[in-house]
Symmetry: C2
Subunit: 190 residues, 2 copies
Amino acid sequence: MPRKPNYNRDDLIERARDLFWRQGWAGTSLKNLEAELNMKPGSFYAAFGSKDALFALALEKYASDGANRLRQLKERHGPLCALQRFPAMVVNNPESPAKACMLSRTLLELQASEHPLAELANQHLLKMEAQFCELFTHAQALEEISTKHRPDVLARRYQSDLLGLRVSAERNDVDAGAIAAEIAHDLSAL
Amino acid sequence: MPRKPNYNRDDLIERARDLFWRQGWAGTSLKNLEAELNMKPGSFYAAFGSKDALFALALEKYASDGANRLRQLKERHGPLCALQRFPAMVVNNPESPAKACMLSRTLLELQASEHPLAELANQHLLKMEAQFCELFTHAQALEEISTKHRPDVLARRYQSDLLGLRVSAERNDVDAGAIAAEIAHDLSAL
DNA sequence: GGGTTTATTGAGCGATCACTCAAGTATATA
DNA sequence: TATATACTTGAGTGATCGCTCAATAAACCC
């Protein structure tokens, strides 16, 4: 009986994610989204409910894609090498709409107003940190690195450095590749 | 002949800086500013010209205050110790309106739209980096650290780590003090 | 093809945005 | 005290914000 939508939902979410990633939450208006997704307001709200709901979907997509890339890196090169390659990968990817981390950006933008999306972004960051922790744990089990530091402490620091790298990468006058290489090199000393 | 304004301009800039620092550029409306500064729109525009002009003044104030704090730290404890104490100082200061760096926050928020304030924030970040570089140079001259790394490379990395620290400090579930201590400790190994 | 169901359309809602300006008020000099 | 010169006031500007909804169009089952 029904009529099918003439769009691919996942494709729309991906395009919205890229737009939000580039322009941020406040910087992306519904006009922008309607233009990018080729949707009139009625269709938009029928499909997603609200701007914030779509932003939440975009965050999920962002986080899961990142986690998958890291997982693939680990399967190919092992845990330590994955952690070493990840910073450069993130910073050099020419397809990504921005260098900065969408999660930290959202957190910074919306934390002060206690917007639910800030808390959502933080939860995704926690999951990322847990994934890093797993990799450090695994690297210690394989004796790729020593066990003199706790893996959760290593993960916390690694994530912090990564966030700094990605802020730096957003700047014009900074050689982010060099910083990425330093972060990778530091891991060899563990 | 004239009538004097019944406010202290520097005080207004400071209060505006704190509000912008907490809420960001888009997150701070003129209504917010009028309430915080106790000014009606007419007075506001007579005094500052525009929201962006005041934001620029707030950035200057933010940057020069930070530079002064670091300078004082150096005069009291020497260059290396200043660099070691600075991260914890920035993260633990209970008076600061937010933990995150206002410069990097502004950069992340406005870079994509090529807003002039993003470039201004970046220039202040460059000045910060230069100040770090001076301190590393001085620390090498005093033989507090070795000369095996170039001071500009050390400064670039130090700033990146500091930016990461300050993003992490904005999160609820992260012990930023611990990360700050690690950054300080790493400097001892130079 | 008829009837049902859902998607699409786009004008337009109230609220808020940064900002303006004419009128009123206080302070200085003459 | 009179006048000139600011500063202050606050209603109101057009533009844009996220969002709604009644009307229309398309795809399915029978």
